[in-house]
């Protein structure tokens, strides 16, 4: 059973699509389900962040 915008629905009644993105800022896997009318009724995603916040540090010279 899959949680959808219409509540729990039998997975066999839905069309499942999966995909992934892997680049310099993220690694993402997603899954979506559409009903017979082609309506998106469920979509989940799992994102691993790669794009970190990096601060460069330095010190100044005295004198």
């Amino acid at each position: 059973m899959i949680e959808t915008i219409y509540g729990l629905q039998d997975e066999t009644m839905l069309v499942k699509t999966t995909g992934n993105v892997d680049n310099e800022v993220e690694s993402t896997n997603w899954v979506e389900y559409r009903n017979a009318a082609g309506e998106l009724v469920h979509r989940s995603a799992h994102v691993t962040v790669k794009g970190a916040a990096v601060a460069a540090s330095t010190v100044g010279s005295i004198g």
């Binding site: 998106l40 995603a45 916040a53 010190v59």
Partner: protein
């Protein structure tokens, strides 16, 4: 031997732990030893305008309450203290974040902020635009090292 100018690597991680309070102390908060701040992660629509110039959490542009996501986002787990890896100060939340029964269209940004200190911003992280429909959104943290940590002071 010769002297070498540079910022102490230990200082970089200690900054993230609130060890140093430089200057006249105008912004220095009262602290209790052993009591960490609470850091939260909020999600924002792709139409929002967060950046390094963001100074604090704002509800403007934030995704709406849905499923287990409530305004402001949830607290991140900080079981591992900031540290240094080589000469880089590093910090990564020790667990990912997951929202269930969640729906939100076209969001691509997560703001880490300190909810214990006037919601001051820590960092902005972007990813490919996501739409979640009655589903689960999971944000997994990268490895906590000099090359991958979520927050790095090089």
């Amino acid at each position: 031997m010769a002297n070498t100018q540079g910022m102490a690597s230990s200082f970089k991680s200690e900054l993230m732990q609130g060890v140093h309070a430089l200057g006249p102390g105008t912004l220095t908060p009262a602290r209790t030893i052993g009591v960490p701040d609470t850091v939260k992660a909020a999600l924002y629509f792709a139409t929002a305008t967060l950046s390094a110039a963001t100074t604090a959490y704002s509800a403007t542009g934030e995704v709406g309450n849905s499923g287990s996501y409530a305004a402001g986002g949830s607290a991140v787990t900080m079981a591992v203290a900031p540290s240094t890896s080589g000469t880089t100060g590093i910090f990564t939340p020790s667990a990912g974040i997951s929202y269930t029964g969640f729906s939100a269209a076209a969001f691509d940004c997560c703001l880490l902020y300190n909810s214990s200190q006037a919601n001051r911003a820590i960092s902005v992280h972007t990813f490919g635009t996501q739409t979640i429909v009655a589903g689960t959104f999971t944000l997994t943290m990268p490895a906590n090292d000099a090359a991958n940590a979520l927050v790095r002071i090089a």
